[in-house]
Symmetry: C2
Subunit: 353 residues, 2 copies
């Protein structure tokens, strides 16, 4: 083997408030020799997700925190370039928590990895048929339980999860209103995803616009944002409303936690339910979700956008796009090439192989 | 018939912030002659409940607001003293929304009334076997769904609803911690209701005490209070926790709604559920709840306290006791006597008739 150099981003310090590029440290290292059971992955796409902000904090959660000096944890897809693990042959494509780096030594624990089926574009297991798509699928269907004819409101509706949740709600026969930032994202919601209305939280009075666009109240609110957006939705609940708490990106960068909604008692008056979840609780049902999502995408029933930046050196800046609301759809970073022809990513149905 | 004088409290103005006696107007009127279908009730006990605060506001809710100049709405039990309704004979005991007054002309709408079964102490349909007891029953069992061995936290635990919810949770085999104000109430919780711990919110750090008393986290939180108490509970959720939002008396007297809990995202991290409800949605199942609650009380498995003040002239002040946290158990006001011997009220099993 020739000696390989790996370029990595380590967690350098725990962020206070908004994440800063200075929270990460760039490092080059020589990749150590593999031991039995390990395999080496050349990362192709890194997935940047809001939940990573939580992993940077020194707080036990559904996953342990990333340690200082450790490679920053993130999902990725890549190709096996060397293997001492019989389950993963050289040349195969895999997805896993391979981290913010060009190469990952995989094979155990968080970096165990999973083979990507032939014919699946490489980006899909990170987005529409990965954790973000499945978060939309289970969150909307299992917690939101939308019924045909009901009104579904989705925040972060141009994001990786919200955009899929909104389109699944349309497939379920609901009236769907999306909230996003800026005219470009709002046009995407109505013109491409076929939603029944869009609210631009940057320029519009969200509470008033929900009232106008959801005159019978909101039956299901799929929320990624929290804060003032959640308060505005609570002010417009239909009786028996379900609020799916998927995340709260509006608060992830607060140095001091902001106060919550003033109108929680509307849950009493409207007999509403607010429920949080984490996608890893549904791991046993992942195959079902992947199958459905893949079918919908291939059939053109669900569109998905990917925002693909390039170059491992840009990883922290690409991560920051999420908190600035700059991404449209799934935020990815391309950090390597495959050694064979393969559909890498797609917006919409994939090209034939 | 001799002419009867009725002493009443009308809603004089809509309260701003804390309710004031000046929000009510005292009035004496001659009771008009009954028309067909009506019957006249001599009120014996008035029920004072936090939810009445909401009825005083000019806001459509699960019931229309009380109009200015109208008799203040409240539940009551009384005796039929005159009847032009074949379903209600003179001498019978009835419960209904008979209002803050000595006599009610009943027979339709909100004052339709219901007969109180022979042998039931008159106060029970207002408390332990009435709306407050049933609120505890359905809220805890249907929304909280406590499982044997789980930890249940109850706020307002010395109040009419909380005290019943806490004891039902004990019957279900749970570890139960109650929150109440002051040493007298806290002793009641542990020494009489048999709870596993009590937290005095007036003198203790509630969040810290929950952490100490619920080391494995709170599985079910039955909340009547909201505000800071809710925030403290959210900080200590077990995975899969259920929060039953029954009310939020801490906020009912706010002139401006206070901010909500800063830590709602714990619902995501702990996959928690927060759900509001209103007891009238369970009206079809009231008989089941009344039967169970009555059996438990008669068997001495559930104790219930009644805080009985006297005199129609004291109705507003008695109502205010709720918001000052002065009541222990169900807040009642005795405003009249029955014309025959009847068990009026009881703490614990009733005397034999």
């Amino acid at each position: 083997m020739t000696e390989r150099i790996n370029r990595q981003w380590l967690l350098a310090r725990r962020p206070v408030g908004m994440v800063s590029p200075a929270d990460f440290e760039f490092k080059q290292e020589t990749i150590p020799a593999l031991t039995d059971g390990q395999y080496l992955v050349r990362n192709i796409y890194l997935s940047l997700d809001p939940t990573m902000r939580g992993w940077m904090e020194d707080r036990e959660s559904y996953m342990p925190p990333v340690s200082l000096g450790e490679v920053m944890r993130c999902s990725a897809v890549g190709q096996v370039v060397e293997s001492r693990n019989p389950a993963f042959a050289e040349g195969e494509f895999v997805s896993g928590l391979f981290g913010m780096q060009e190469y990952a030594v995989a094979g155990q624990g968080f970096t165990h990895g999973a083979r990507i089926p032939d014919g699946t574009p490489l980006s899909w297991p990170l987005g529409v048929a990965g954790l973000t798509g499945m978060t939309a699928y289970f969150g909307l269907l299992e917690l939101g339980k939308p019924v045909q004819g009901e009104t579904v409101l989705v925040s972060g509706a141009a994001g990786a999860t919200g955009s899929i949740a909104a389109q699944i709600a349309k497939l379920e026969g609901c009236r769907v209103i999306g909230i996003a930032g800026g005219p470009e994202k709002c046009s995407l919601l109505t013109d491409e995803y076929g939603l029944d209305g869009a609210i631009d939280y940057k320029t519009e009075d969200v509470e008033q616009r929900i009232k106008e666009l959801c005159p019978r109240g909101v039956d299901v609110f799929f929320d990624n944002v929290g804060g003032k957006i959640l308060e505005a939705a609570l002010a417009n609940l239909a009786t028996g409303a379900r609020i799916v708490l998927c995340g709260g990106i509006s608060g992830y960068s607060d140095e001091v936690a902001q106060p919550g909604p003033r109108n929680l008692m509307n849950l009493v008056l409207q007999r509403g339910r607010m429920e949080g979840f984490i996608i890893i609780d549904y791991v046993a049902r992942f195959p079902e979700a992947v199958k459905m999502l893949t079918e919908w995408v291939r059939a053109g029933k669900i569109l998905h956008h990917e925002d693909i930046q390039e170059g491992i050196e840009n990883a922290p800046e690409t991560f920051l796009r999420l908190f600035r609301g700059q991404n449209i759809g799934k935020q990815l970073l391309k950090v390597g090439e495959a050694t064979e022809s393969r559909a890498l990513s797609s917006n919409g149905p994939p090209a034939a192989r």
